[in-house]
């Protein structure tokens, strides 16, 4: 009995970190929520590698079609924190085309059963809108039993 418990504990510990759970590091600067989460959810930094975050943060005046420019001080603070907490495992750290989480190989594979029409629903709008379907996305929880796809 005790061995069972220890074994399952070991199993849990040995489980690789997966995107099903990608919690926000506790040391997120206040500016991250205040500046970045106005227009989209505060993406956990572990969803992209260092180079992608650096690219994003150095091009904020042309941020996926909008001007998201910041004061220099805030920009530095957020950049340093994102880079420090960027993905390290190869799967997530691999360079994302166009610096988009949605263009990574793992994202595309995980969502390959989602039909084009679903992405266009009013309740979804964009693949960048994680929380449209992943009801606990803001808590960093992306696993499958927390998914509710909007009907329209």
């Amino acid at each position: 009995m005790k061995t069972d418990f220890l074994l399952s504990l070991l199993f849990l510990l040995a489980m690789p970190a997966s995107a099903a759970r990608m919690a926000m590091p506790a040391d997120a600067p206040k500016s991250y929520e205040a500046e970045c989460a106005n227009c989209h959810m505060a993406y956990p930094p572990g969803l992209l590698g260092q180079k992608n975050w650096q690219n994003i943060m150095s091009g904020l005046d042309k941020h996926f079609g909008t001007d998201a420019s910041l004061e220099a001080k805030t920009q530095t603070e957020i950049t340093q924190w994102l880079v420090k907490n960027a993905a390290t495992r190869e799967k997530y750290a691999a360079f994302a085309p166009e610096n988009r989480i949605t263009k990574t190989a793992w994202f595309i594979r995980k969502h390959d059963e989602v039909r084009a029409e679903v992405w266009k629903r009013t309740g979804v709008k964009s693949p960048a809108n994680c929380a449209a379907c992943h009801t606990d996305a803001v808590k960093g929880i992306f696993n499958e039993d927390k998914i509710r796809i909007p009907a329209k």
Binding site: C39, H40, M41, D67, S69, S126, N129
Partner: protein
């Protein structure tokens, strides 16, 4: 005494502290740098596209007195009218940051004091 106040204000701005303000004071500031304010012109400015893909109303809707959604990401945007959302236009740095970003998105340039005055004067009439 005045010098002391000035010094405190300079220090506050240096450390980037939020300088509390009101929509009425902001409006006075814009008016002091522009001609006569027009609510009608502000309303039209808000609802019209200016050569690019979006108008102000693309995200804030019209009248901007209710929760809306970002046109691309779907993220909740709280009402823009100060009558519906008393937090609006109360933090100078925040106001100027968003004018800069959003004017660039809508017009491809920063907004003039006249344009800000017109829009804000109209927003103050939106119930």
């Amino acid at each position: 005494m005045q010098k002391k106040i000035a010094l405190v204000l300079v220090l506050l701005s240096l450390i980037g502290a939020a300088v509390a303000t009101s929509p009425q004071d902001l409006l006075k500031g814009y008016e002091s740098r522009s001609g006569k304010t027009s609510q009608a012109r502000g309303e039209q400015f808000f609802n019209t596209k200016h050569g690019k893909e979006w108008s102000c109303a693309s995200c804030h809707e019209t009248p901007p007195n209710h929760d809306t959604k970002h046109i691309v990401t779907g993220k909740l945007i709280k009402p823009l009218s100060p009558n519906s959302n008393p937090d609006r236009f109360t933090d100078q740095a925040k106001v100027e940051k968003w004018f800069k970003r959003n004017c660039n998105d809508v017009l491809g340039r920063e907004c003039a004091a006249q344009e800000k005055a017109d829009v804000l004067s109209w927003l103050l009439t939106v119930k």
